[in-house]
Amino acid sequence: MGLEQFLAGDKPALARAWFDLILGTYPPETSALLQKDKNQFANPVGYTLSQSLSGIIDEMLGGFDHEKVLPLVDQVVRVRAIQDFSPAQAVGFVFLLKKIVRNRAEEGIREKRVSPNEVLAFESKIDQLALMAFNVYTGCREKLYELRVNEVKNRTFRLLQRASLIAEIPEQDTQLKNGKDSIT
């Protein structure tokens, strides 16, 4: 019996345990809110977390298709990237899964249903997940700064243009494109 099969016996509990550990990274009042309300609009962070974590667990125990995992990791990291977390805390939630898997696998190893090598192999998958999270996190932070830069650029440029304070080089018009006229 493989580790994946062993863990798959109780997928929802696995996702729940991971969710609970992540809730612990928030202040107590907030973690209570995140698990209380099940409405996806009243509690978007809690909802997104629980949905994405279940999806990630499914993939970790199944095909581990990167195309499917990435959007799920994105949903979680996109939120944590703009919350009050250090970069390590923002992506560190991935490693919490190791803690859970080790705890659960212990019993399987003892009963010889799971080999330690399988645990190591599974942890490598978690490492891949962490690297994915790191990529997403970096992308989110870059996006944040890009938004700032764009905001400043748009503000000044459009203003100058509209106040006729700058003369922009126009796009080549149709005549020029057709070679009917030339710039001499």
Binding site: N43, I82, D84, L96, K143, L144, E151, N154, A163
Partner: protein, 539 residues
């Protein structure tokens, strides 16, 4: 050689410290606070303690008698505004508001719960203005006022957009926005403010609009749009400026004049007024609908509001039509009448096209362009071709102030449904009176605050993502200039395939104008549905 951290130094604590709220202090991380107000802007507005300072400094250079100033200010506000005293006394900390704030939902910081934001002020009130607080101190939820408290006020009162979603859920009707407003009023007594509020307020006071655009440049900018419209449908519009004797004065936020995509909304206004032949004028002096005085103090708000009415009186117009703005309408609807009103020198607005009398604006004499347009459509006075918006799949963000301060829910939807064929509302707990804020209102729409803006806008973006995934929505409409400026970056971060528009841009696309040439593009130059392959040569 770089210092390599030891393994134990790499371990971080996953769990936040568990301390009582009074013992938890804010950390001024970049992205969570706005740059402080500049001395020159404070001087223009006659605000106290103008100086250069930074929230990162230990010493905020407060006046030496700052405590006395705060207590005196609180006493003054409590005597003047009965609502504040009620809000201070009546809260039973039931928590109904706690999870309704977009900043709390997005940030997870408990002090963004409206109840706790209120406690920041209430704790000081209890200590010095109630007997129980004086005697029992902390047990009664009271605390000493010290500089740390002032810093905390600055941090959290400038992390509230005064959107009032929380007040919808408060069983006592406590308006936390007004608590924030009072908090900012008190901070201003010490010269503690942000420049994104002070700068626009000072510019508006001196030049008539937030950016300090001078009259000739303002006129040039509007004329720029006249050319843009002509390029779309061949119609030449001739707006007038500062024209005495016009029937209507039109005032819109200056954001519509200089910032995309608000500019397309402004083109919509121009087209509509031209088509119905409205006798109206722009003013290059009252060239701002927004009022950042609301985010400063009552005195500045009153001054900036008075300017619009002074201009209406000078020009001798009958009434004012206001553009698609957010907080302008809170000021007009809730404060204008007792600040500067009633505007008896103006007439009760009456549409010259339909004859409808807007009794709802009997005292302020100022009507919203969306209600004006809705009335035109209702009376069949506009020829519309909604198929020109067929390339758009639209949803509507109820801008907080028109929604919760005016109860303005149906008019915008009525207009949108008449000018668009594809419209989907977001789920019920995210719209109308429960609408989620854009996360950048009340003067917080500055770039250094981007991280916090993304937190605050999370619940709104989450609902947009839902209609985007379910119905393919690609356009988020709204009726607020701040929304139009801040929702594009919000969408870019959370739902990149959705763009932002004002309602009158959609009207501008759909309106069939007398004598116009065939349109191949919308106001942004994007091809209309079925016109994707048309190039200039085909015309």
């Amino acid at each position: 050689m770089a210092k390599v951290p030891k393994p134990n130094e790499l371990v971080f604590d996953y769990n936040p410290p568990q301390k009582w709220w009074m013992d938890t202090k804010p950390e001024f991380r970049p992205g969570t606070w706005c740059y402080p107000g500049k001395a020159k802007n404070a001087e223009v507005l006659g605000l106290p303690n103008p100086r250069e300072w930074s929230p990162l400094d230990e010493d905020w250079k407060l006046p030496s008698n700052w405590k006395e100033i705060i207590f005196e200010g609180m006493r003054d506000c409590l005597n003047k505004y009965r609502s504040l005293r009620v809000f201070m006394d009546i809260c039973v900390r039931c928590g109904a508001c706690s999870d309704k704030c977009h900043f709390y939902i997005g940030s997870g910081d408990p002090k963004n719960m409206p109840v706790l934001r209120g406690e920041l002020l209430r704790s000081v009130y209890r200590k010095d203005f109630t007997l129980a607080g004086k005697i029992m101190g902390r047990i009664a939820g009271a605390r000493e006022l010290n500089e740390e408290v002032v810093k905390e006020w600055f941090y959290y009162f400038f992390q509230c957009t005064e959107c009032r979603r929380c007040s919808v859920f408060c069983p006592y009707g406590i308006d936390t926005a007004e608590i924030t407003i009072m908090g900012r009023e008190l901070l201003n007594l010490l010269g503690v403010n942000i420049d994104w509020v002070l700068g626009p307020a000072a510019n508006c006071y001196l030049n008539g609009n937030h950016l300090g655009i001078q009259p000739h440049a303002f006129k040039d900018m509007i004329e720029f749009f006249v050319e843009e419209i002509e390029a779309v449908n061949g119609i030449r519009i001739e707006p007038t400026f500062n024209r005495k004797g016009a029937e209507v004065l039109f005032i819109t936020p200056s954001g519509d004049v200089f910032a995309d995509p608000g500019t397309y909304t402004l083109m919509g206004y121009l087209m509509l007024f031209h088509e119905i032949g409205l006798d109206y004028t722009w003013s290059t002096y009252a060239s701002e609908g927004g009022n950042f005085g609301l985010f400063t103090n009552h005195d500045t708000m009153k001054k900036l509001n008075a300017k619009m009415y002074a201009e209406a009186e000078r020009l001798g117009v009958k009434y004012i039509i206001g553009g698609e703005c957010g907080h302008m309408w809170r000021v007009i609807q809730q404060y204008m009448d007792t600040m500067n009103g009633p505007a008896d020198f103006l007439e009760v607005p009456r549409s010259p096209i339909t004859g409808t009398v807007f009794d709802n604006a009997k005292s302020t004499k100022m009507i919203h362009i969306v209600e004006f347009t809705a009335d035109l459509i209702r009376n069949g006075k506009l020829k519309l071709d909604p198929s020109r918006n067929d390339h758009l799949r639209v949803t509507y963000h109820d801008s907080c102030n028109p929604a919760r301060a005016m109860g303005f829910f149906d008019e915008p939807r009525y207009v949108i449904k008449n000018v668009c064929n594809n419209f989907w509302d977001m789920p019920p707990n995210c719209i109308r009176e429960q609408t989620f804020c854009c996360g950048s209102g009340s003067g917080l729409n500055t770039d250094e605050f981007m991280e916090m803006r993304m937190r605050g806008g999370l619940p709104r973006a989450n609902a947009v993502k839902h209609v985007h995934d379910k119905h393919g929505v690609n356009m988020l409409s709204c009726i607020c200039a701040i929304d139009r400026a801040v929702l594009p970056p919000l969408m870019d971060y959370w739902v990149p395939d959705v763009d932002v528009t004002g309602v009158h841009e959609l009207v501008g696309n759909a309106i069939v104008m007398e004598g116009e040439t065939e349109r191949t593009t919308d106001l942004r130059g994007n091809p209309l549905e079925g016109m994707e392959d048309m190039s200039d040569e085909d015309l």
